[in-house]
Amino acid sequence: MAAPLCLLLTRPRMVWLFALVVSGTAFLTSILLLQQVMVSGTIVYELGGWKAPWGIEYRIDQLSAFLLLIISAVSTVVLLAAHTSIQQEIPASRHRLFYVLYLLSLAGMLGIVATGDAFNVFVFLEISSLSAYALIALGKDRRALWAAYQYLIMGTIGATFILIGIGLMYQMTGTLNMHDLSVRLPAVEHTRTVFTAFAFIIVGVCLKLALFPLHLWLPNAYAYAPSIVTAFFAATATKVAIYLLIRFTFSIFGLSFSFTALPLQILFLVLGLLGVFVASTAAIYQTNVKHLFAYSSIAQVGYMIIGFSMTTATGLMATLLHLFNHALMKSALFLALGAVMYRIGSVQLSQFQGLGRQMPLTMAAIVIGGLSLIGVPLTVGFVSKWYLVLAVIENGWWPVAVLILLASLLAVVYVWRIVEVAYFKPPLAANESVTEAPLSFLVPIWILVVANLYFGIDTRLSIEVAQAAAQSLFGVSP
């Protein structure tokens, strides 16, 4: 949250180091926070010393601490590669701007997760979104501008919806503090105003999290943004939106209201499933690998929504696990794509020919990340798939379980398209001199890949935290 300081530093290398230190500090802080929360429960911090209903309050429970950890960890690792990557993709004069925006966006996301105030959520949401639009527009491709514009329109509509919803709630209850809201809402929950507020918020959040069919902004935004930005956003932006969805439905409106006011359960289930199938199928037909994985992200959001729609502790746990695991997979994959971009200047599938031999470590990372997407045992993807299927079966939704597993076959298809091109075709003449990515890429990529494997083998951390968070959410809901 120290972005403005960046402006003061002039030399790009210094800025990079500074950004890295800030992000790293955030990461360490969130580890400490998580430990503390796991031991002693929710932490409350009053900003400026004002008491809760009037002042702005930061409230960190297991769920927020978990999200803080994911965001700051991914951001730190991704930043490691940033210095090398942006040299290729962003003109030198804008490097400082890049880091400023990056840190602003990071601060915004951390703020959304940490705050205990509904209006504050909106403020941070705008901070992170506005910087995100600008970051995407920094992309080398001219289509980046158009993509950023699309995102801007959709994102602003979403944010406005959320603001309207928050405003309506304030009108009804006279408070913006989340905790107070959850106490006062039940008294007025039968009114049309609250109902409208809820509907606005849900739609707004769904726009942000790119739930099918509100996902149209995402593929282009991911594909044309600078690689580092894609890696960072793919792992964090939609996750924050899912956090908001969980926070609003579970903590503020309460479970019983959320799922009786609107036919949310069936709605989310159907949209989630549709999202998984439509987006996975779309992914199969992409020729740009960034597009391909962007569609796969939409599909993965679908999985998380399916888990969420079950409104059982196991289902929610599956969602949270997948949140964590998907952040690991996608950041590894997009970072590896960044390395490919750095070396050959394109991520068209046809350009991948022969890369299996020329960039063996990068391609191996993509293969492992892909296997994780498919959900092969010993990768993180398997852990979340296991819990998702288990949760579905607990609910007795057998056909859904079959559909989920069938959908992962689609993942096999799109991952294997890349593998076949990279390993079975000779390199293109133009790319014959391409060599392995530089260490500054390989180190962060492999940190993430190893994390993919490590948390697929030693699942204690992710499962414990996800379980605690899911249970506490069910504990507080009326």
Binding site: K385, L405, L409, I457, I463
Partner: protein, 496 residues
């Protein structure tokens, strides 16, 4: 070295039999530039592995129980290993035949001038490590992990040639194996976990006596379909597709390791997850039995029409795997014994046949059966081995296949499955029809097609030795089946 080896406890031997091949992979990659050293690493790993497995076998014979738990992957789901006779049997076969195949492969790969040999040996070692993991797995969860590793590690072997055809074959291979395992097998495992609350292999099964018969019946279907490696008929296409692989791969992986991992898993699931008592009353068992029977017959018929020798052998494997599945589903002790013995007998027989096919390819550059007339003059030893192995597959003395078919027939009689009994008999006749003409015409070409005057030109010595050993093995198993019989009988007697 040897002192430390002998002093190892059996439990650590069990662990090392899985870890060792994986470690060997690293060593193989490291020594990739020096072929002789690399092959030395592979061979010595084979020997040490075989030594471990034999020691474990003696431990089992003394009645010791050997088990190891590694760590808890998900709450309540451990990665752990435990040796029981069936797994022991499978591990013995796989580790012994790995040694033989390696000897064979060294001759074949060098003579055939294959590229990427380092990758070949490395993936081979991973595959064997996962076979050991499957054989010794103490629960379905552990088994599933190694099952998937086996699929993935054999993919580069199948597509070794790197051609368009290999790529297509690899696609079918991966698509079917990964597809069935994710959609059916994983679903079945999660459901079993949900219904029974445990995935441990337990003698007599994990389900309560009052479990819903319909649910269990559906689960059984999911399991049998999900274990795509067992190649039951609608999901058998991967096996012929995988024949684009180099012959040593086809030999070990598609006559022994991969397909046997499949039927082994079927046996494990039938005996230790469902239990024979439950199995015999499930409504879907009969349906699956007929499906397996159809698989046996149809695959045999298809095999008759194949002119490519490896394709014919592949379909013959599909048919023989059906035997094992039938035996498991019969849910009688004779059936289970027949199945487990058939795993061993068919392994020896089929690997010999594949070795011969490879030898013919290397020495005479022929892969079509119609071109093999008169080949007996040129390659007498190979063709003789082919003949013996064919006898074993058909199931007539003096070859090992006799015993397993005997028990399988007993099983069908005990349960009065007359149709299946007829299927087994007819299929044996079909075996004769598609296997025997090959060596027969090779020795007695008749007419003027004889290619006399070429003289004897056998396969490379290493390959020749390997195929002789397995052919002799088939005969030895007929004359001396006692250890095998004991192990097979112990599956149902000794708990755990």
């Amino acid at each position: 070295m040897s002192a430390s080896l002998t002093s190892m406890s059996l439990a650590s031997m069990l662990q090392f039999s899985i870890i060792l091949p994986m470690l060997a992979t690293l060593a193989i990659v490291a020594t990739g530039r020096k072929p002789n050293l690399r092959e030395a690493v592979t061979i010595s790993t084979c020997l040490v592995l075989l030594y471990f497995v034999i020691n474990l076998y003696q431990g089992i014979k003394r009645g010791e129980s050997i088990s190891v738990t590694w760590w808890e992957l998900l709450p309540g789901l451990q990665v752990s290993f435990n040796i029981e006779p069936l797994g022991m049997l499978f591990a013995l076969i796989a580790s012994f035949l790995w040694l033989i195949t390696t000897v064979y492969a060294i001759g074949y790969m060098r003579d055939h001038g294959e590229h990427n040999q380092t990758r070949f040996y490395a993936c081979f070692a991973i595959a064997i490590g996962s076979v050991m993991g499957i054989a010794f797995a103490a629960n379905l969860f552990t088994l599933f992990i190694f099952y998937e590793i086996l699929t993935l590690s054999t993919y580069p072997l199948v597509t070794h040639a790197g051609t368009e055809k290999a790529k297509r074959g690899g696609r079918v291979y991966l698509g079917i194996l990964l597809g069935t395992s994710i959609v059916f097998f994983l679903l079945a495992i999660v459901s079993t976990w949900f219904v029974a609350g445990t995935l441990d292999f337990t003698p007599g099964g994990v389900f309560d006596a009052n479990v819903n018969k319909t649910v269990a019946g559906v689960l059984l279907v999911l399991f049998i379909f999900g274990i795509g490696k067992a190649a039951i008929m609608p999901f058998h296409r991967w096996l012929p597709a995988a024949m684009v692989a180099p012959t040593p791969v086809s030999a070990l992986l598609h006559a022994v390791a991969v397909v046997k991992a499949g039927v082994f898993t079927v046996l494990k699931v039938c005996v230790f997850i469902f239990g024979l008592d439950l199995l015999s009353v499930l409504p879907s068992t009969q349906f699956l039995l007929y499906l397996a029977g159809a698989s046996v017959l149809l695959a045999s018929l298809v095999a008759m029409r194949q002119d490519n020798l490896k394709a014919r052998l592949a379909y013959s494997t599909v048919s023989q795997l059906g035997y094992v599945t039938i035996g498991a589903l019969l849910a009688t002790s004779a059936g289970v014994m027949g199945s487990s013995m058939h795993i061993a007998m068919h392994a020896f027989g089929k690997i010999t046949l594949f070795f011969c096919a490879g030898a013919i390819l290397v020495a005479a550059h022929k892969s079509k059966i119609s071109e093999m007339h008169g080949l007996g003059r040129q390659m007498p030893i190979t063709m003789a081995a082919f003949f013996i192995a064919s006898l074993s597959i058909i199931g007539v003395p003096p070859a090992g296949g006799t015993w397993s078919k005997w028990f399988l027939l007993m099983g069908t009689m005990e349960t009065e499955q007359w149709i299946l009994m007829a299927v087994l008999m007819i299929s044996s006749l079909l075996n004769i029809a598609y296997l025997i003409p090959i060596p027969f015409r090779a020795f007695f070409p008749g007419g003027g097609t004889s290619s006399a005057g070429i003289g004897i030109k056998e396969a490379p010595l290493a390959s020749l030795i390997a195929l002789c050993i397995t052919a002799v093995g088939s005969v030895v198993l007929f004359v001396y089946p006692q250890p095998l019989y004991d192990l097979a009988r112990a599956i149902l007697v000794i708990p755990g």
